[in-house]
């Protein structure tokens, strides 16, 4: 299978070609203009177009035309994301806590299994979070639960195993797209923006 075929297949399969998980194919798209054009042509002939994520670290294919069917599909995808939003946000909270950082984890960040297991061993709240994430597949063995979660994320292509010897996992560009979709919901609904209302600021300014 040629690189072009491999890339097109991945894109048509709702896949994301990112610099982290598909380093070689990403470089090919970025550096080989002929290949990029060829991929774009194939996608165009199938009513698709190639899009780069906000950070530029990932490529994905979208419906090129807006018609009744594509609109319906977009809405369907939106409903799926809304349904899964809680799960994704819990995942982000879980990894932020396990890495002892305030900001959410993002595409490209690495997770070492041993670090995760260590954090879990020392934190009951983290264990509780993980149990909630796994639902009825929760276990009393911390490392079993950690590998279950990591396996789930690998299956859903949010994570990939970068180093099988030392069990180092890395988040893929798909995470960025999910975050982008969730942020879209936040912005459209002006969630958490109560404090930054321009009128409020104006009033405060006048008072001063």
């Amino acid at each position: 299978m040629s690189y072009k075929t491999e890339i097109v297949k991945k894109l048509l399969d709702a896949g994301v070609i990112c610099v982290f998980a598909h380093h070689e194919n990403y470089q090919r798209l970025v550096q080989d203009d002929d290949l990029l054009e060829s991929v774009q042509n194939i996608l165009a002939s199938l009513d698709r177009k190639l899009i780069q994520s906000e950070s530029g670290n990932a490529f994905f294919a979208v419906n090129a035309e807006l018609n009744t069917d594509t609109k319906k599909e977009a809405k369907e995808y939106f409903r799926y994301l809304v349904k899964d939003a809680r799960y994704y946000l819990d995942i982000l909270e879980f990894f932020a806590e396990s890495c002892q950082q305030d900001i959410y984890i993002q595409a490209g960040e690495k997770i070492q299994f041993s670090d995760l297991a260590r954090s879990l061993t020392h934190s009951n709240s983290l264990q509780e979070r993980l149990k909630r994430l796994l639902g009825n597949r929760a276990d009393s063995d911390v490392s079993k639960m950690a590998s279950r979660l990591l396996d789930d994320l690998v299956k859903s292509e949010l994570l990939f195993l970068q180093d099988s010897q030392r069990l180092i996992y890395r988040f893929t560009g798909k995470l960025e797209l999910i975050q982008q979709g969730l942020i879209f919901i936040v912005e459209q609904n002006r969630l958490g923006m109560e404090h930054t209302d321009p009128e409020d600021n104006l009033q405060k300014g006048l008072r001063v």
Partner: protein, 432 residues
């Protein structure tokens, strides 16, 4: 037992991986290692366990930044930490040499003046090179850090370190600048000339510093952006917790503004719909289309006018089987009549050839006979078992395991015993 001090053990481990460390240090950033080589692999594992080696992707690795800095410091290279910690000494040296030079000039000691003139020139060249090299080094490292594209705690800490180093570097430069502005130097032509050439030669330094600063700011901006994203996502989490049944139906109509939703969802993979017709004649697309068309099962449209080939009836396997069954049925009835009328045994193979039914295979005919016999088939309301016997002739090979191949069948009236069959065929077959 003689147990080693852990520090000695650590140094020994590092020493045993010295070649790999040197290779990676020289590669300034990421280096590709041959992990298939057992010796290299051993060294990689050792350094990885010591957390001094970081894996990037595939066979690419880099040395842990604190470890690299330690080597920099040890080698006393023109690196950030060395220059930043030593600039005070450089100033002191310049001051000291200038004092000797100045004194010698007043006293008219030409040889001392010349010697210290050379010394001052050397010191100025050295400090110029150090500033330029450090700025260059800092820029390279910041660029490499910026290029790593993730914003975890490690990256943020590294960025903060470079920010501090840059500030210190700028501070050192201004310290030298201020030092050279001293009145005592302004009255000396040599120092004026050296200061001018120093400032001229460090013009590139400012360029590098400003580019480094841009990258640092850009990184900080990206990190800040992620902070904002996190705040927004947490706001969504709070909202979902407060309103678990909110499906954001009002937002549904706006989804087309966000390209992410125009992508196929994972869950919709199975329903991938392609509404256009791929141009199969295009060689460029041929390879890619092959598998795609197979997957999406879209009929291709040909530009040729539609024409239909005349249909030709072909025997399918099912039709062949039905026909064979019907022929076997006819043959069975014929054989039945023959056996009743002649009251003699007949071999199934002979019956098949006599009846000119060669289009039927012997295997099928034997199978048919055995099946009808064992299923107690009736012909004309009479069980065939009551009319004839079907005795198999087995092909028993040496080392008989219990499974034997049926090579023929004797169809005979029920009055024939196995012994009678054997007699009839003069012992040709040993029917048991």
């Amino acid at each position: 037992m003689n147990s080693k001090h852990p520090v000695i053990r650590l140094i020994e481990d590092i020493y045993s991986s010295r070649e790999l460390i040197a290779t990676l240090y020289d590669s300034e950033g990421e280096g590709v290692l041959d992990a298939d080589d057992p010796s290299t692999k051993r060294q990689i594992n050792k350094l990885s366990n010591l957390q001094l080696l970081i894996s990037l992707h595939g066979d690419s690795y880099y040395l842990e930044s604190d470890f690299t800095r330690l080597i920099d410091k040890g080698l006393r290279q023109d690196t950030i930490s060395y220059l930043n910690s030593d600039v005070g000494n450089e100033i002191k040296k310049i001051n000291h040499v200038f004092d000797i030079y100045h004194d010698a000039r007043i006293k008219g000691q030409i040889s001392i003046v010349r010697k210290n003139e050379r010394e001052l020139t050397k010191l100025f060249i050295a400090i110029t090179q150090r500033f330029n090299a450090t700025a260059e080094e800092l820029f390279k490292r910041v660029q490499a850090n910026y290029g790593k594209m993730d914003y975890g705690n490690d990256r943020a800490r590294e960025n903060k370190f470079y920010q501090d180093e840059l500030e210190q570097l700028k501070e050192s430069y201004h310290q030298v600048d201020k030092f050279l502005d001293a009145e005592v130097f302004q009255n000396d032509q040599l120092m004026i000339n050296l200061s001018i050439s120093y400032k001229g030669r460090t013009m590139g330094f400012f360029d590098k510093v400003s580019r480094t600063l841009t990258l640092l700011k850009e990184f900080a901006y990206r990190a800040r952006e992620q902070e904002i994203r996190t705040e927004k996502l947490r706001a969504l989490l709070d909202h979902i917790e407060m309103h678990p049944t909110d499906n954001f139906e009002d937002t549904e109509n706006a989804v087309l503004q966000c390209p992410v939703f125009m992508q196929m969802s994972d869950r919709m993979k199975s329903t991938i719909k392609i509404r256009s017709y791929p141009n199969i004649d295009n060689d460029d697309f041929e390879e890619a289309y092959g598998e795609m068309i197979e997957k999406i099962s879209v009929p291709s449209l040909s530009s040729e006018p539609f024409s239909r080939e005349p249909s030709i009836a072909k025997d399918t396997d099912l039709i062949k089987r039905v026909r064979e069954q019907s022929r076997a049925d006819k043959l069975l009835i014929t054989v039945l009549k023959q056996v009743i009328s002649s009251n003699k045994p007949i071999l199934a193979s002979d019956a098949l050839s006599d009846m000119d039914q060669m289009s039927m295979s012997l295997e099928y005919w034997l199978y048919f006979l055995r099946k009808n016999y064992s299923n107690n088939r009736r012909i004309g309301r009479r069980k065939i078992r009551a009319i004839l016997n079907i005795v198999p002739i087995l092909d028993i090979k040496e080392g008989y395991s219990g499974n034997a191949i049926m090579k023929n069948v004797v169809i005979c009236p029920t009055s024939y015993s196995h012994q009678a069959i054997n007699q009839y065929y003069h012992g040709k077959f040993d029917v048991k």
